[in-house]
Amino acid sequence: MNAVSETILLAHATFGVLALLASVWVFVDTLNGSEQAMVRIRRASALVAALLWLTALFGGYWYLSWYGTDKALIKAGPWPFAHTVAMETKEHVFFTLLLLGSYLPIVARDFSRRARHTRGLLLTVSALIVLLGLAMEGAGAITALGAKLSLQA
């Protein structure tokens, strides 16, 4: 662990939370459905996609470069499930989240062209991103706590 690795990890979590917030924005503006909201929905959806890809790049790089040390620590500590369940689930469910984020701008673009029947789809996709995003944050917190408890043990 060093300052660079911790900064990259922090960037990963930060971009994730920002993506989650942007998806809430999309959800609320879709409910609103005004003309002014159309442009915002398209832009916010693109932002969600961009932020999730940044989350993936920073998180993926950290995972491949530095997580091995944490993994060994967690598995040997008092909360091995922090890796075997929380982190393992997180690193695989994330792919689904990334797909949803990549798909969101496609739906948003269609919706903003007054294809109102995609409203339900846009609400569903943005809500799923929020729910999965919260699950990711929680799993990440459990993983971090697992590492912390291992160091204190």
Partner: protein, 110 residues
């Protein structure tokens, strides 16, 4: 000469096609997790693809999404596709996530 309405750059069928592609890729993600956790050969194969099983896994899931999205966009569209898509997509995402969680819970318990 009358003007025709402009053709949308993202036709409706693309929305439906890629929506179903997300659902398919999400379920494939879950199936691949089960496969690689139960069979070391699959794990090694994924690692051989890109150097690490996780990136190999991610690459296959993304390729599944792109390929199915492209393939499903070929048939002529109907607007009805997106009307049932939201529920189908949500079900696939929830089911695949639950399968992945349960897989690792079972593995941790054994």
């Amino acid at each position: 000469m009358s003007k025709t309405s402009p053709k949308p750059r993202v036709p409706l069928d693309v929305v439906g096609a890629f929506g179903y592609a997300v659902a398919i890729a999400a379920m494939f993600n879950a199936v691949l997790v089960i496969a690689k956790e139960s069979n070391p050969v699959v794990m090694k194969g994924l690692a051989a693809l890109t150097g690490h099983h996780w990136t190999g896994h991610g690459l296959l899931v993304l390729l599944t999404f792109v390929c199915f999205g492209w393939l499903l966009a070929w048939p002529l569209p109907t607007g009805a596709r997106t009307q049932s898509l939201a529920l189908f997509l949500a079900s696939a995402v929830v089911a695949s996530s639950a399968i992945i969680l349960i897989t690792f819970l079972v593995r941790a318990a054994l």
